[in-house]
Every structure is written in C-alpha cells, then in structure tokens.
Amino acid sequence: MTTPAIPEGVKRCSTGKFALWLAVVGAVLLWGVYAMFLVWYKGLNQTGMNDAYGFALWIWADLTVIALGGGAFFSGFLTYIIGKKELKSIINYAVIIGFICYSSALLILALDIGQPLRGWFIFWHANVHSMLTEVAFCLSVYFAVLTIEFLPIVLENPKLDRIPFLHHLSHNLHEVMAVFAATGVFLSFFHQGSLGGVAGVLYGRPFAFREGLLIWPWTFFLFTWSAAAVGPCFTVLITRITEKVTGKKLVKQATFRLLAKISGWMLLTYMIAKIIDTWYWAAVTAPAKGFTLMDFYTNNPVYGIWILIAELVICGLLPAVILVTRKGRENNLLLMTGVILAVIGVCINRWVMVLQVMAAPLLPFQDWYMYMPTWQEIATTILPIAYGIILIMLAYRYLPVFPQEKELNSGS
C-alpha cells in the first residue's frame, strides 16, 4: 500500500470530478498554448501591436500580475519580518499565488520579445541604467526566491514527505525562510519599483514622465507601494474565491480582516501619495512640456477624464476608506467590494501607465493612436489564468496549503 497523495485529514473531491474540471480548464489552457506557439512561430505580427504600441496588452498583463502577485512579498514581509503570526495561515497560499503570477509574467515576457531566443541578452549585455534591466534581474532572482519558498510546500506532499532527504530539506527551508523572505522583499521592492520606473523615466512621454528621487522617478515608489497595498487584497480575493468554489472555510476571518486592514492603510497612504503625484504632474511636469491635463483626456474615443476618476476615487479612495474602517472590514459584502475595487484600481493604473502612454499623441499634427488586441494576444493573456487555476487545483488537492483547514471544517 502506497502513501495517499492527498494530505491527511482533509476531504477532496473524487478523481473523476477533479479530472473533468482539469479538462475544462485544460482546454482553455490549450487554446492559449496554441496562440502562444502561433506567436512564436509567426512572430509578433500576430498581435495588434504596432510601432506606436510597442507595449500593449501583454505588458499591461505583466505589470498587473506582478502587482497582484505582490501579495507574496508583502505577506512574507509581514509574516517573517514584522512577525504577524496570524498570517501564517495564509502565507502558503500567498506564495503559491505569487508563484503563479511571477511565472506567468515571465512566460508573457518570453512571448512579448521579438527574439525570444535572445532573451538572455538582457543579462548578458545588461545596461544597468535601464529600468527594464533592473526588472529582469530582480524579477528572475525573485522568482527563484519564490520557487524556494514554494518548494517546502510542495515537499510537504505526503508522498514526497516520506523521502527523508526531502523531508529534511523541507524542514530546513522552513527554518531559514525568513532569510529568503527578506531577500524577496528586497528584490521585490526593486522590481516592483523599477516596473514603475519603466514608464516614469520616459522623459519623451509627458503622460508617463515623473520627477523623482535620485535615479528613481516617483512612479518607482508608487508602484512598489501600490503592489504592497493591493497584493494582499488579491490574495484575500483569490482565497475567498477558493473558499466559495470548494465550499470550505480555509482561513480564519480574523486573518482576512488583518490583511484587509493593513491593505487599507497601505492603500490610503498610497492614494494620498498618488493624488499628490498626479496633481504635481498636472500642474508642473506636463505644462513644462506644453501639455495641459485635459490634453491627455480629450479628443479620443476611450480615454476620458472618467479613467482618472475611476482610478483615483472609485477604485482608490473608496476601497481605502472601506478597508480602513472597522465597519467596512467586518461587513463581508463591503470587505469584498473594497478588495475587488482595489484590485480593479491597480489594473486601471497599470493600464493607464502602459496603454494610455502609448495612445497619447505627442506631435500636434498627430492623432491619438488606438489599439485593439488580436485573439492571439487575448488567448495568451488568458492562458496564465487557466494555468493558475490548474496549479491552484493541484496545490489545493495535493498539498497542505491551508494549515487551519482541518480545524475550521471539523464541524462538518
């Protein structure tokens, strides 16, 4: 008799049901994989990008998943460095979500570059002045850290755990996890920031350009901050979705509320900084280059001032206020509203900092540039979602992800 693959003491659905769902999501995954190979084989002409849109949907997806994956580093920071022990019940899942986000980001990057076979030139011929170089280095090293953080969870699978070496390895990794987490926080700070820097340093693009501190534009800090603020929201959101889907309680309410509270304060402070930044940019930076604020929000079919209001108020200040107030956090509906709005807010921010930057005309005789992604781009952007779901399904089924699951569901 071999060891069961499913962790002890938890209930999981039948293999048949599991396989069925796996097949459904797998079909979506295959569609994305097909599109991915099309792009690799035929080239980037398969996309809706053009010379005005060097960056488009993929880069947005990249920035967004990394911001949302920020839950991993920030929860790690809170758990291992600040010492918020309550978060131990969710840190495993945060790491898995982060792992999914970052691996997706790397996959999308591999698609997005015109010469994937030369992708390693970014390391080989590194230009240390480029924000993208900073991103590449920190991203890949941090992904290694995430993998290391993910490893002990994988090794806790009952079958693997039976192997003594792996058992010890898992244990020892856990022991020094704080070191890795600290390194991860350090790396995350820089790559989240340099992703913000990617747009902020573009002094030829008045819509994106920001003044800054030393070599880092304000967007550097805003991106790190917003990722730290919204990453945990995304972790909460995904965990709650997982609870809904599995029909089980996985993490204590208190943990959610704690995360939401921290997120809320982060978000509130971020929004204050962001609003000051926007005001300074609209009043000083852009006019110095001959632009008024409304130049960026008129004369085009999409980007009206609504997008700024949506980002700053509806998906910024509003969720921040919900999450910092006790009532907001304790009302389940309000909590989830706040979490979802915050996630949407960061998606809008990343969209604006990528797509609207490309869209806004610079020379007075040019028009707004519009862009429509092709199905190949959309499919390859959905691909990571399908991959993420599959990985979560596998992790949930075979790994002891939620230490409180047994305790919380013992009644049923």
């Binding site: 080989w124 900073e134 280095f137 070496f165 010890h168 020892n172």
Partner: protein, 55 residues
C-alpha cells in the same frame, strides 16, 4: 550580468547594481547550500537503514 562584453566599463552604477545583485544572489545561494547540506547531514545522521527503503 558579466563584464564580458567588449564595451563594458566599470563605473559607479555598475558597482552599485552588480553589488546589490551579487549580494542577493549570494544570500540565496548560501541559504540554499546551507539547507541542502544540513538536510544531507540530517538524513545521514538519522537511523542508517532508511536509505534503501524502496528497493
């Protein structure tokens, strides 16, 4: 990553960037090496007969 390319020149930004990079990499490397060695040691010092369990 490596100062192998022909136009490479060491300057302050390079030192800062590469310094931070190698610092992070060495911590990760040291941590991993420690874990692996420790685990090997732990495995070896445990009850001896376990190494051929599945054969």
């Amino acid at each position: 990553m490596f100062p192998f390319i022909f136009e490479w020149a060491w300057d302050i930004p390079h030192l800062v960037f590469m310094g931070a990079l190698w610092y992070a990499l060495s911590i990760i490397g040291a941590g991993l090496t420690y874990c692996i060695l420790k685990s090997l040691y732990d495995t070896a010092t445990e009850e001896g007969g376990e190494s051929h369990e599945h054969h």
